[in-house]
């Protein structure tokens, strides 16, 4: 199954706003996407609770995987999103 492993770029980790943006992107993908941290079972990437349960901080390596038509493109897009600091473009921070 195609997969990508990236480190979380958002400075507050994969929760709150970064998680919401990621979950929304994964949910709108044409194929189901799963996400996991090393040593743990993959969970649905379109579920906020599942993504929060990873407890992924800034710098944590996460692996996303998907199968089907367009999976590679979906994974590339989501990997780019995960690697960005999604807190940066929020009002009041330095971005």
């Amino acid at each position: 199954m195609p997969s990508r492993t990236v480190t979380v770029g958002s400075r507050t980790g994969l929760h709150a706003r970064p998680a919401a943006l990621f979950v929304a992107a994964a949910g709108s993908a044409p194929v189901p996407v799963k996400i996991n941290v090393e040593g743990r079972k993959p969970v649905p990437a379109n579920s906020m609770l599942s993504v929060l349960s990873l407890g992924a901080k800034c710098g944590t390596a996460v692996t996303i995987s998907a199968e089907g038509d367009g999976a590679d493109a979906v994974l590339d897009d989501l990997a780019t999103l995960l690697a960005r600091d999604l807190d940066a473009d929020e009002g009041g921070s330095d971005g």
């Binding site: 400075r11 507050t12 980790g13 994969l14 929760h15 709150a16 706003r17 919401a20 943006l21 579920s47 906020m48 609770l49 599942s50 993504v51 929060l52 349960s53 990873l54 407890g55 992924a56 901080k57 800034c58 807190d87 929020e90 009002g91 009041g92 921070s93």
Partner: protein
Amino acid sequence: MAEGLGALLEPAAIRLAETAADRDAAIRRCGEVLVEVGAVAPAYVAAMLDREQSVSTYVGEGVAIPHGTLAGKETVLRDALAVLRFPDGVDWGGQPVTVCVAIAARGDGHVEVLGELAQILLDPDRAAALRAATDQDTVYDLLTPIEETA
């Protein structure tokens, strides 16, 4: 592992019979409780409302996790949680919310705490029990499970 949530949640920060006319009112109540227990300065409440404008903190299972923006971090005095239950429910952008777990956090230690909370809520029975809880001990026990087989 289980000490994370419990260490941040004091009995005075568990309020089980709250009412709020709408989402913003519920968030203000959450912020007021965090102020009352000495976890944040009053300015944090505005940061919580800002956060919600930016992205909903609804996580599923009738639970929202209001917290401030990064800009509001300097108004956090210590990391803490508050649990507010709204028995009549609050319309959270189209989703009914019964329980708010309000978060005050300076660093990223709460990401693990949120992970714990999410794992609890992923268990439908425990999530339902949390929504139905009417006493502090029940809430505390649900959020600080004794290490089980897991």
